[in-house]
Amino acid sequence: MKSIPEPDEMPQSTNPKVRFLTPEQGKALFDRQARKHFGISGEEFIRAYEAGKLIDHPSQSDVEYVAFLIPFATF
């Protein structure tokens, strides 16, 4: 893992365009990405991914990317 400098050592934002998502917004973001890349809901994607049903999907890059976004739906 990469250790990042102490927050106090970091510069403060002069342009804070940061959106802290609610759990509902996070789920919506993830759901939209699952539908965009695979045409299925976020919940369907998670079930398929965890069951190993996407291992042979031709677009592994998309599988890996949407799987990476799962924490948006589960925090």
């Binding site: 990469k2 250790s3 102490e6 927050p7 106090d8 970091m10 403060q12 959106r19 890059s61 589960t74």
Partner: protein, 158 residues
């Protein structure tokens, strides 16, 4: 921990006006927090090369025993994917140490947009060291002629 998220936002702001979305916030957790730019979508970058970027990070906040440093933010995964204007993946810096990943170390993909014809290279997970977001953004500006949106990009991406 807001300073870390603000720092990442400043880095993104060197090349895009997209909003950074954060899930999980600032609390200590065993589960990764996640952030991405532009709702997780790829976003266009200004410049003659007409390239796009898709980017997301996992990070964790942990406590330490040091009185002078109670918390540490650790980056625990990333996805930095550069695409051409036809959304073909050119180059992707990945680190996604998840249970379903058979390659859990940082690696590089050369996609169809890279126009590298050799099949082994296109399907390989090419090993890399740890790649920082600012390195990728600097690469875009310096080698892909992406137009920086901030005059102080050199200091932010150092």
């Amino acid at each position: 921990m807001q300073a870390y998220v603000d720092l990442v936002q400043q880095q993104f702001a060197c090349v895009t006006s997209a909003v950074v979305d954060v899930a999980g916030g600032y609390h200590v957790s065993d589960q990764p927090h996640i952030l991405s730019a532009a709702n997780g979508d790829e976003f266009s970058l200004r410049g003659s090369a007409r390239v796009m970027l898709r980017a997301a990070q996992w990070y964790e906040i942990t406590t330490t025993a040091l009185p002078s440093r109670r918390f540490i933010v650790e980056l625990t995964g990333y996805f930095y994917t550069l695409l051409d204007h036809n959304l073909r993946e050119m180059v992707a810096f990945h680190w996604h140490p998840t249970a379903n990943s058979h390659v859990r170390t940082p690696h590089l993909h050369l996609g169809p947009g890279s126009q590298v014809g050799r099949a082994e290279l296109q399907r390989s997970h090419l090993p890399t060291g740890f790649v920082e977001l600012q390195q990728v953004l600097r690469l875009l500006i310096e080698e892909f002629d992406v137009t920086p949106l901030r005059d102080d990009w050199g200091a932010i991406l150092r």
